[in-house]
């Protein structure tokens, strides 16, 4: 477990900023204590200082997970967000998409969100903007990337994809073994 290098931090922040923008600052600079990002087995964990100190008691190979896993770095050193980060993305998300109850399941099985399943969307959403997907009952279901702008979403026919699937809470079951 080590702190992230500058490049890594940058890569991660760039990815995070797609979803929560400048709200990353709220994650880094928290009033309720010191929180930090740590890299462990190519995965980025977000944890409080306390847990960090506790975790130092374990050897690296024995430690599976600590804090909240935000995502992992691919072999090409790109950062990929995991669904476990949703808890931190959802409250700060800038752009949101609500899926209709009928489309919830589809999304939770890892499919993209179609126009027909789109219940509500934040205005001025740009194309390829990171969005957090909610159910109509405002339960965060996952996150994705807007395939169309809000204006385009109005026009397109019901079978076009409006949100590309990135991660959904169904992964907690589907990828149970790999999520940490």
């Amino acid at each position: 477990m080590r702190p992230l290098t500058e490049e890594e931090t940058k890569a991660m922040f760039e990815k995070l900023s797609k979803y929560i923008g400048e709200n990353i600052k709220l994650l880094v600079d928290r009033p309720d204590g010191t929180y930090c990002f740590r890299l462990h087995h190519d995965r980025v964990y977000y944890m409080s200082e306390k847990i960090l100190k506790l975790a130092t008691n374990f050897s690296r190979d024995k430690l599976i997970s600590v804090g909240t896993c935000f995502g992992k770095f691919t072999k090409t050193k790109k950062f990929r967000l995991h669904i476990t980060a949703l808890d931190f993305l959802a409250p700060y998300a800038k752009f949101k998409v609500w899926v209709k109850p009928g489309a919830e399941q589809s999304f939770l099985y890892g499919n993209h969100v179609l126009k027909s399943g789109l219940g509500r969307i934040t205005e001025n959403t740009m194309q390829y903007q990171g969005v957090v997907v909610y159910s109509m009952a405002d339960v965060p279901l996952g996150f994705g990337v807007a395939a169309k702008t809000t204006q385009e979403c109005r026009r397109v026919d019901p079978l076009t994809i409006v949100v590309f699937h990135q991660a959904d809470v169904g992964e907690f079951i589907r990828n149970e073994d790999t999520l940490t």
Partner: protein
């Protein structure tokens, strides 16, 4: 239109037809989407009359007369009532079924009233959901569940309409909804709980949530009954109550320390990570709580009512109920009126419903439930009630406990002593937490002599601790249930004199008279002590000291007690406790709570055992005195327990118990380690801080790059202003931007100063140059002649100066003759000075230098010339020097007379340009002549040009 045949169009109104029963109905153009195609369907109501018939049949067997089909629905001009009357503002595409004319609605309305009577059992649940938020979809779907009257319907409908959920449904049916960036989520978790049954993960959370919903529910109920009950009275003691409420609920997660002041929450964070998390989660709903607690009395009211109703129903012969009504006379009207309002609901049902709700989160609170359930009968104070409640307690979780606490606290404002008691305890706790280094046992404040009162208080505290910590022995519960209840009664209602009336059993065994006397004395002492304590609590500064001074019940006491009854279960409990403590983070607090728990348990055990064997001996005066002394000795600050290492030491000490042989003192302090630890800590902290800063800077970079374009456009958009409308207003601060600033001049001044300084510096002239003086006179003469001729041309302008400078020039001559380099230097400078003045020196210098370097002869010749033509004139001298600097003559002139000099040719020429040289008429003639010629010429040229132009395209 009654006479009209169904299907005939209303004359003058397109798309309106007469339908069955003479109603005028619109022909609907429905747009229905099938797949990708959108079609419009025409719906003529007159052609669907059979549907109405069908509905009629299924709705009611008794055929409704036509006259009754027209319903007068009262209601204002608002949307809903209009809709109910059948006046839809604008058509929104819906399915044909839904927009079918009123037949269905009417039937529903008929059914509704019948249904209302049946759903009394559901009523509670539904109302709860309703109270949580009008945005609930469930409530929307079953609008007829919680409606008592038309008003209620109205309210419900209005709430639905106002909610965005209604919007959402419409959107769902029509199109997707676009929301602004500021769109706030309704708390998703709540819905998550209700709609998705995720009891596993959110159990703890759910418990709290339910509490809040319950409160809300109760509030709702109370609000409904509010106008009838006139509950405004109840709100008088509100502040304190709300306070206690908050306390209770804030600490919902860790009820074992419920009496900690809310202020201290941050410091007394939590025992384990789980709890911490819990709390952090809970904190997000704090605002909700606060909002709800703003009228917290209502809750209390309702619960008290419920409880009382339950009691009434159970036909308990005990006086508890009476007392309760005595205690809160304001609350008493509640129960009578409430049931009347909520028809067909027995209080037991309500209670049961509430309790059933709370059972959903039983699992998470199992641990807490047990002890809390234990103390429940104690509060009731009656055996019969206890029996009744025992079955209830199985279903009850911590909330029942809380309810009771709240009830207790509700009495607080009415009884000063009581409140002071609680305050005092809070103060103590606070003090304990702040002092932190002490082994925190019970700390009643009474004076040394008041041993009996001490005991009383101790018991009281223990009682409360038992309630709050909820970690007492289960065995003790049954044995001491009776005594508990009676004691409790005595404590909770001390002002009624019930203490005397119902003395505790162990007191009963003593001499009654003595006991009474003692009691009275003790009570008096206690009251005085409490008052004193209250004062102390008010002064926060003194609080700590006061609390420390009043601390008693030393560790040895606790140790003794533990030693007394070393039961197996006790040990087990301790082990449990220890493991629990190990998981916790804040050692100090753990220890505190643990010891408190131990003490309370010990007391409970004592009570259990004392009834068996020892009985009143425990409270012998002699022993108590001893205790008091010990308490005196036991409590003083131990410096070895200060600080971080001290805490460690304290933990160690705690492990050994209060055994004298293993007392930890200063010698065991590990200072070095502490230092090291501190050092490492600070290093780590610094590293983290640095990392944070680094992260923030990176973030700045990341965001900055992405942010810039948008911000730029924003700025552009925001900054456009019509400049033409802009007027300078000196009173406005913004307009200072339009003022020209005088800074420039100051700058120029400084620049000037610099220049001046530079000018004042004498030029460095290498002396070697001046050594090389050629004595070739011929060349010199030739040169001087030229110079002379030049000079004579412009001799007129500086004659005045010349005379002044003459003396100096002569000096120069002499110095030059001696060929002293220094003097020549001086001379040159002096010459310049005399000639150009200070300001123009630089230019003069240049010329001299130039002269010196390039042409040696003239310089010499100039000197020689002076000597030779000594008699002629000094002017020539000067002329000669300026020969090369002719260009500078005008500036020199300007030195004297700004622009002009007397007899300036320009001055003479100027007026001639302005004055008429000839008569006006002459001039005019001249001009006219000239004009004609000019015209001619212009025309000619114009023609030529045109010709050329014409010729050009042809060619």
């Amino acid at each position: 239109m009654k006479a009209a045949v169904p299907g005939t169009e209303v004359p003058g109104h397109k798309d309106w037809v007469v339908s069955k029963f003479g109603r005028v109905l619109p022909v609907l153009q429905l747009r229905c989407q099938k797949g990708n195609k959108a079609r419009t369907m025409k719906y003529d109501p007159s052609k669907y009359s059979h549907n109405i018939r069908k509905l009629d049949r299924c709705a009611d067997d008794q055929s409704t007369p036509v006259s009754q089909l027209t319903w007068e629905l009262d209601g204002g001009d608002d949307d809903i009532s209009r809709k109910r009357r059948g006046e839809f503002p604008s058509y929104k595409p819906r399915r044909a079924k839904k927009s079918r004319p009123h037949g269905l609605n009417i039937c529903e309305a008929l059914d509704r009233k019948r249904f209302e009577q049946n759903n009394s059992s559901e009523d509670h649940m539904e109302s709860k959901q309703f109270s949580v938020g009008p945005t609930r979809t469930k409530a929307q779907r079953s609008p007829d569940s919680d409606v008592d009257s038309d008003e209620d319907i109205c309210r419900l409908m209005a709430a639905q309409d106002s909610s965005h959920n209604a919007l959402h449904q419409e959107a769902e049916e029509s199109q997707l909804e676009v929301v602004g960036l500021e769109y706030s989520l309704k708390s998703g978790r709540k819905d998550c709980e209700d709609e998705y049954d995720s009891a596993d993960t959110d159990e703890l959370f759910a418990s709290r949530r339910n509490v809040s919903t319950l409160i809300n529910n109760a509030n709702e109920k109370a609000k409904r009954s509010g106008p009838l009950d006139k509950e405004e009275k109840v709100k008088a003691p509100l502040p304190l109550q709300t306070f206690s409420f908050k306390e209770d609920f804030d600490l919902g997660g860790k009820r074992n320390k419920s009496r900690v002041l809310p202020v201290l929450q941050s410091s007394s964070v939590s025992h384990s990570d789980d709890e911490e998390e819990e709390e952090s989660e809970g904190s997000c709903s704090d605002s909700e709580y606060e909002a709800m607690f703003s009228n917290g009395t209502c809750l209390e009211m309702s619960f008290a009512d419920l409880q009382k109703l339950a009691e009434d129903a159970s036909q308990s012969s005990e006086t508890a109920c009476d007392r309760g009504s005595e205690e809160n006379p304001e609350l008493s009207p509640g129960p009578e009126e409430w049931p009347a309002l909520r028809k067909g609901i027995s209080p037991e049902e309500i209670l049961a419903a509430i309790l059933e709700e709370s059972t959903s989160d039983e699992d998470g609170q199992n641990e807490r439930k047990k002890p809390e359930g234990v103390s429940l009968p104690a509060f009731q104070g009656t055996k019969s009630l206890q029996e009744m409640d025992n079955c209830l307690t199985k279903a009850k979780n911590g909330r029942g406990m809380e309810v009771k606490k709240q009830m207790q606290k509700s009495e607080a404002p009415q009884m000063n002593t009581r409140t002071s008691g609680t305050e005092r305890q809070e103060g103590e706790k606070k003090a304990l937490l702040q002092v932190g280094k002490r082994t925190p046992h019970k700390v009643p404040i009474a004076s040394e002599s008041s041993s009996s009162s001490d005991e009383e208080e101790e018991e009281e505290e223990e009682e409360e601790e038992e309630r709050t910590t909820g970690r007492q022995a289960i065995v003790a519960e049954k044995l001491s249930a009776e005594t508990f209840s009676e004691e409790d009664r005595g404590k909770i209602f001390p002002d009624e004199g019930s203490v005397e009336a119902v003395p505790p059993p162990f007191h009963r065994k003593l001499n009654a008279g003595k006991e009474e006397e003692l009691q009275r004395k003790a009570n008096l002492r206690r009251l005085s002590a409490l008052q004193q304590k209250q004062k102390e609590a008010e002064e926060q500064k003194r609080l700590i000291q006061g609390a420390l001074a009043n601390l008693d019940a030393p560790p040895p006491k606790a140790g003794k007690r533990i030693v007394f009854d070393s039961d197996d279960e006790n040990d087990e409990d301790e082990e449990e406790k220890k493991s629990w403590a190990a998981s916790s983070k804040k050692k100090l607090q753990d220890i505190q709570s643990e010891e408190e728990a131990v003490c309370s348990r010990a007391v409970a055990n004592q009570r259990a055992t004392k009834d068996k064997f020892t009985g009143p001996q425990l409270f012998d005066s002699s022993e108590e005195e001893d205790n008091a002394e010990e308490e005196e000795n036991g409590f003083h600050i131990r410096p070895q327990f200060e600080g971080q290492a001290g805490q460690k030491l304290m933990a160690l000490q705690h492990r050994f118990g209060t055994d004298e042989r293993f007392r930890m003192d200063e010698r065991f302090l590990e200072e070095e380690e502490e230092m090291e630890a501190n050092g490492s800590l600070t290093v780590e902290d610094e590293a983290l801080e640095e990392e944070k800063k680094n992260n923030l800077s990176i973030l700045q970079n990341v965001l900055g790059s992405s942010k810039q374009p948008s911000s730029k456009t924003l700025l552009k958009a925001a900054k456009f202003r019509d400049v033409s409308t802009l007027h300078y207003d000196p009173s406005k601060e913004e307009h200072t931007a339009f003022e020209t600033k005088t800074i420039k001049t100051t700058e120029s001044k400084t620049a000037r100063r610099k220049k001046r300084e530079e000018a004042q510096k004498l030029p460095e002239v290498s002396p070697e140059i001046f050594y090389q003086v050629s004595s070739d006179l011929k060349g010199v003469f030739g040169q001087t002649k030229e110079g002379l001729s030049n000079a004579e041309e412009k001799s007129n302008w500086d004659q005045v100066k010349e005379e002044e400078d003459r003396g100096k020039a002569e000096e120069l001559q002499s110095s030059l003759l001696s060929e002293d380099p220094i003097t020549t230097k001086e001379g040159s400078s002096g010459f310049k000075f005399s000639f150009f003045g200070v300001d123009a020196e630089a230019s003069g210098r240049d010329t001299t230098e130039y002269k010196v370097e390039s042409i040696q002869a003239p310089k010499v010749s100039w000197q020689l010339n002076q000597r030779v033509h000594d008699s002629s004139s000094d002017e020539e001298q000067e002329r000669h020097s300026t020969a090369s600097t002719e260009t500078e003559e005008t500036p020199i002139k300007s030195m004297d007379l700004f622009f002009f000099y007397p007899g300036d040719t320009r001055l003479k020429e100027g007026p001639t340009l302005f004055c008429r040289s000839s008569q006006l008429e002459e001039q005019r003639e001249e001009w006219e002549e000239r004009r004609t010629t000019l015209r001619r010429e212009v025309r000619k040229k114009h023609k030529d040009a045109q010709r050329k132009l014409k010729a050009a395209p042809k060619s």
